[in-house]
């Protein structure tokens, strides 16, 4: 049995779902959780339900806001005081920034953006996509321990019947150390929707959207089904949408339950970024568009007619 630490970041005081996905998958290992700051009893109970033995709250000065140095110094100090074989975290914006620095403090390796894993004779063996999902490979770690792993949100899925852990809480004082790069200000996003990489449903517009103003028909459908709106590279490069919305090899790689592609032709670099979506719907006027080769349900037709009809049908179905 491996000793594992799962670092969880907080979003409005809540642990991110990817933390619970990781804990569920770690069933059979000895898993603790570390959080920087405080979380309430209901969140600790949630972590315990999915298998957390101990929940360590790391506390100290200058840790109110994320900083690459403050967080990595604090976590390194805590990890050095224990004997973990593996440290896991979600491959979120923070996880992707933090884990490389943290792992290097141990001269240790990091397997990024892992989508599945097992322990083979006590050693981590993962699967991860490369070339934006055009291929998969087995990933293993070597060198000094602990070994570090970041897990892509939505990839493992929630364990249906998790084995509970003790969920014992402990406070630990840590030193953030010398912080040279600090956040002075946070500029909120225009949209309050969940990020593409964590979205359960995505509606994407391509070049055939013809203009930024036409994205409102996608927003309307997205509002009905609780989706986040994305865009293809062609749409972003044409100025219809910002890069934060781009799905594909030079944008975001996504794996929602439902992906609805509207007027997206399906360039190879786009397909790479969304092909692991569980169910794909494509709407395109060109019957030969490559997107149809990946679609579970393809509709050949004019998106400007089809999308509003679909929004109405979905409203009816969902009783809205």
């Amino acid at each position: 049995m491996a000793n594992v630490l799962v670092f969880t970041e907080l979003h409005d005081g809540h642990v991110k779902p990817v933390t619970l996905e990781i804990l569920g998958k770690l069933s059979g290992q000895n898993a603790d959780v570390a959080v920087i700051g405080d979380i309430d009893a209901s969140q600790v109970a949630e972590l315990a339900k999915y298998g957390a033995q101990s929940v360590h709250k790391l506390k100290g000065a200058n840790l109110e806001k994320y900083s690459p140095e403050g967080y990595s110094n604090s976590l390194a100090e805590f990890i050095k005081s224990k004997s973990y074989d593996y440290v896991f975290a979600g491959a979120t914006s923070m996880g992707k920034d933090l884990l490389p620095r943290l792992a290097t403090k141990f001269d240790a390796g990091l397997a990024s953006d892992v989508v599945n894993f097992i322990f083979e004779g006590g050693s981590f063996a993962g699967t991860r996509p490369l070339f934006a999902g055009k291929c998969l490979a087995k990933v293993e770690l070597a060198g000094p321990k602990p070994h570090f792993i970041s897990i892509r949100p939505n990839a493992l899925g929630m364990t249906a019947n998790p084995t509970a852990g003790a969920g014992a809480c402990a406070d630990t004082n840590v030193n953030a150390g010398n912080i040279r790069a600090t956040i002075k200000e946070i500029v909120k996003a225009a949209s309050t929707k969940v990020d593409l990489t964590e979205a359960n449903i995505i509606v994407t517009g391509g070049r055939a959207m013809k203009g930024a103003e036409n994205f409102k028909i996608l927003e309307q459908m997205a509002d009905v089904i609780g989706a986040t709106v994305g865009a293809s590279r062609a749409a972003v490069d044409s100025g219809f949408a910002p890069h934060a919305m781009q799905v594909g090899q030079t944008g975001k790689t996504v794996a929602p339950s439902l992906y609805i592609a509207c007027g997206v032709s399906g360039a190879i670099q786009h397909l790479a970024g969304m092909r692991t979506s569980k169910v794909i719907v494509a709407i395109n006027s060109d019957p030969d568009a490559p997107i149809f080769t990946k679609a579970d349900y393809g509709i050949v037709g004019d998106l400007f007619q089809i999308v509003p009809i679909m929004t109405e049908e979905l409203k009816k179905l969902l009783g809205k």
């Binding site: 690459p68 140095e69 979120t92 914006s93 923070m94 920034d97 490389p100 620095r101 290097t104 403090k105 240790a108 990091l110 397997a111 953006d113 996509p129 490369l130 070339f131 934006a132 055009k134 291929c135 490979a137 990933v139 293993e140 770690l141 070597a142 040279r180 790069a181 600090t182 956040i183 200000e185 946070i186 500029v187 996003a189 929707k193 964590e198 910002p242 890069h243 934060a244 919305m245 781009q246 030079t250 944008g251 190879i268 569980k278 169910v279 019957p287 149809f292 080769t293 679609a295 579970d296 349900y297 393809g298 509709i299 050949v300 037709g301 007619q305 009809i309 049908e313 979905l314 179905l317």
Partner: protein
């Protein structure tokens, strides 16, 4: 001011990836290599600084195979002053690459004021090298930057996080910054630029020269394979306006009863 830009050479985004028969990597013989798209923003940012500070020197660094040196020549054609190439396999892991980059910077004998890189390379998509290099050099870092201002030694950058929100960081040089699309618009290399680039100095080292060995490998890949193909889906023709409502109704129904996602 010494600016270093780390670039990687990656398969073109249109590349169809084929695993080798033993699954150890992908077939690379017929690949068209390009500069990693995110690295273009790093090169451009360095050149923008050089435009307003003629004393700035821009060195591009790359760790990878020497099959062709497209990425470094492109960066020098865009305007970088010199380059260094560390010869290595194209499937080196992030820790080894960062250690090799650190070694290459030390070889130049110049003290870095600013190190720029793309936020990720679109081959292994690891998003590690800039942060690992920063930690190895004991420098602060900010990743995924979409805004950059420099005043003396003070740097103000905007980092893009979930949903397009921005974290505004202030720090001082020397530091490591990992660049995202949206930071600037990379220039094209001009014809005179391309001619000049051929004469610009390019140092070449082995991994051993920069202090990296196989013992530095931290991440091991095997069993490269294509993702499982999906069975063909259902396609409906709604090009006739009269049929649109019926088709949409059918598909929405299937999303609930068959796919169970709505």
């Amino acid at each position: 001011m010494n600016i270093f830009v780390c670039v990687k050479q990656v398969p073109d985004t249109e590349t169809k990836v084929t695993p080798t028969s033993d699954g150890s990597f992908i077939e690379t013989s017929s690949i068209k290599w390009i500069m990693n798209p995110y690295d273009e923003f790093a090169v451009e940012q360095a050149l923008l600084i050089k435009q307003s500070n003629s004393a700035a020197n821009v060195t591009v660094l790359r760790v990878g195979s020497v099959k062709d040196t497209e990425a470094l020549r492109t960066a020098m054609a865009m305007g970088a002053d010199d380059a260094a190439l560390v010869e290595a396999a194209d499937n080196l892991d992030s820790y080894s690459i960062a250690k090799a980059l650190k070694g290459a910077i030390e070889k130049t004998g110049k003290k870095p004021d600013l190190i720029l890189a793309g936020k990720q390379a679109i081959d292994d998509d690891a998003l590690q090298v800039p942060q690992v290099l920063a930690e190895m050099l004991g420098l602060p870092s900010v990743s995924v930057i979409v805004g950059f201002e420099l005043a003396g030694n003070n740097v103000k950058v905007k980092r893009e996080v979930e949903g397009g929100a921005l974290e505004v960081y202030e720090l001082s040089t020397p530091c490591v910054l990992a660049c995202n699309k949206g930071l600037n618009t990379p220039r094209y290399a001009s014809l005179p630029g391309i001619m000049k680039a051929k004469k610009k100095p390019m140092a070449q080292y082995s991994l051993g020269d920069v202090g990296v060995s196989e013992a530095d490998r931290r991440v091991k890949y095997s069993q490269f394979r294509l993702p499982p193909e999906k069975p063909p889906g259902k396609k409906f023709d709604a090009s006739d306006a009269a049929k649109q409502k019926e088709v949409v109704n059918q598909v929405v129904g299937l999303l609930r009863t068959e796919a169970k996602v709505i």
